[in-house]
């Protein structure tokens, strides 16, 4: 069952990756004439025609497409126009830097966000909750590149506490990671707050209380684990948003990652490099999603068996499949407002900043 589930997720991942490549191929080839871009502006018309010929740009589009596809299958994304070396290794060379930045950023942001979210959720609507919610909102409201520039100016140039830019030891990662961490921090803090608030209102929490379990054990061992499901779902989405920020932040801080390389590639219209960058970035996201699938499996045993959880791939076919069967099993339950607790109010699951 579990293997079958994992197999399905893996197949799905491969399919998505393939579609990303195909989509990018068509977008990229619509940009312009690859031969023009490789040659210097002063190249003769003859040289241009020769280059077209040698690049196979005169072949039918399907032949060209097939050549690219067979290249992808062997990991060949072509030669970078800009740096004149195979594109994929060039990108892979940059991957560790991006992974390091990702790890440092999320390694700080995620635990901190969880902590903030839980603290907020313990006393929803309290003064501490409101303060933290406002802070996390500020985190998602700030333009990361602006923050990056400010950090360089203040911390790097004026205070000279940390290197302004570049790549090296951990101290180099602090400023870009700070600039990048704020948004996921804010997002995840909000999500974990609302997930915790919601989880703490579930009846099974009452059951645990009724069994005499101390409140901190309930939070730690039960509510937290179960509220992780929405949190990591959003966390998965957040990876894509995070890489959005990384593209800009890596450029500003001259961090030798894939995001900065993508900007350079697109500025130089280096089509093979652009494709390879998108491939690597999409792969990162897809791998993260596979890990999230594994996490679901670990957290929620129902995942593999029913696949009815709301998944990050929001459109998974199974999502509403059991509707038709559950229809007939509608039991005569009491109506929504009959629960006195709900009627008595205070059942607020959303974030609030009154």
């Amino acid at each position: 069952m579990v293997l079958r589930y994992l197999g399905k997720r893996l197949l799905h991942a491969v399919l998505v990756l393939a579609s990303v490549l195909v989509a990018v191929w068509f977008v990229v080839n619509a940009i312009g004439d690859p031969a023009r871009l490789i040659l210097p502006p002063s190249a003769s018309e003859q040289l241009y025609l020769d280059t077209r010929e040698s690049m196979g740009l005169n072949d039918p589009i399907l032949v060209q497409f097939w050549r690219s596809v067979s290249g992808w299958l062997t990991g060949d994304f072509g030669i970078s126009v800009w740096q004149n070396v195979p594109a994929l290794p060039l990108v892979l060379e940059r991957l560790p830097a991006t992974l390091l930045l990702t790890t440092v950023t999320l390694g700080v942001a995620v635990p901190l966000a969880l902590a903030l979210g839980i603290i907020s959720a313990l006393r929803p609507e309290g003064p501490l909750d409101r303060t933290l919610t406002t802070i996390s909102l500020a985190g998602v409201s700030i333009a990361d590149f602006w923050l990056g520039l400010m950090l360089i100016l203040v911390v790097g140039v004026h205070l000279q506490l940390l290197p302004t830019s570049g790549y090296g030891g951990l101290e180099y990662a602090v400023l870009p990671a700070t600039a990048l961490a704020l948004r996921p921090l804010g997002r995840l803090a909000q999500v974990s707050r609302s997930a915790m608030v919601e989880e703490m209102q579930k009846p099974y929490i009452t059951t645990l209380r009724a069994q005499g379990m101390p409140e901190h054990t309930i939070v730690r061992k039960h509510a937290l684990k179960n509220s992780l499901i929405p949190i990591i779902t959003v966390g998965g989405d957040e990876i894509a948003t995070f890489l959005n920020g990384a593209v800009v932040i890596e450029t500003i801080f001259a961090w030798p990652g894939v995001g900065g390389l993508f900007i350079q590639a697109i500025e130089r219209r280096d089509l093979p490099l652009v494709t390879a960058c998108v491939f690597v970035i999409a792969s990162m996201i897809i791998v993260v999603n596979l890990l999230i699938d594994l996490a679901y499996l670990w957290i929620d045993p129902r995942t593999a068996l029913t696949e009815t959880r709301r998944r990050r791939a929001p459109w998974s076919r199974a999502a509403g499949k059991n509707r038709s069967t559950s229809k007939s099993s509608q039991s005569p339950s009491t109506s929504p407002t009959t629960s006195p607790l709900a009627a008595a109010g205070g059942a607020d699951t959303g974030g609030s900043t009154r």
Partner: protein, 344 residues
Amino acid sequence: MSTQARSDTSAPVEVGQAMLSVRDLTVTFPSADGPIRAVNGMSFDVRPRERLGIVGESGSGKSVTAQALLGLTPRDHTTGSIVFEGEDLLTAPQDRLRALRGWDISYVFQDPLSALDPTRTVGHQVAQPLLLRRVPKKEAHRRAVEMLGEVGIPDPARRARNYPHQFSGGMRQRVMIAMALIGQPRLVIADEPTTALDVRVQAKIIDLLYRLTDEQGVAVVFITHDLGILAGLAERVIVMYAGRVMEECSTDELYYRSIHPYTLGLLESLPRISGPVPERLLTIGGGPPAPSRLPTGCPFHPRCQYVQPECRTTPPPLERPPGGEHASACLRAAWLAERPGELR
């Protein structure tokens, strides 16, 4: 407020013989439209080994009462006293409360699916009360399996490793009962434990609850909206309406010689599966009030066919006729008692 003054004198049962004694319990929730009184001056006792039924419609405050009994309602919104074996649960320290919960007093919930942690095995959850009391893991698990067998789950050793969603509704409710009884409590509070179940399963769960509590000598507070269920199960019944006790008496008294217009109306409006089929059912007009919009005076007065002018202004206290056990919060209780014969 007038009930507060009288509550002590009007207590229907002597304190001495009760294991649980609730006095003037009031639970208030804040809301955007001002505070809402979900429970309003409830007083009742539960005697050892007794099966007490609490019946009420939606919004009558019965579930809040159940939660208050375990100290699960916010303390700053709960007043009165709940004395369990000499200890007031509303003032006892939280640690003491936790020690009592799941061990001396336990709880069976209405919806067994949402009341179970979806991500833990059933065995683990049933063993939880033992684990919390530092019973060794192995021993706790053994007893959990034993308990699951006792509540009628086939192949309990294997099923203990399953998750709640792998059980049917009835089986889940059995798990909840196993969880409630594993600590050998002296009082079980069952809040609509069969509402979501089909009649045949419902009957089985009731039989099980009856048998286990009977065998173990456990007192049960059984909360439901269904008068039919209590008829066979309960020894004594409390009828709640709008957060108040309307009538309290032995089961037979209630069903055959009720002296409260609300109970009478309920019983008359029930269609039955035996006896003559009436052309029209007798009905209570209107509907139960929302807790946020309670009428003044007797909360039932807008629907009452025997309404008196004073009903509209003062809520009648819960009173027993002299020498009797049958309490009713109705000005016309005595008049109703005069009416000859049984209801059926």
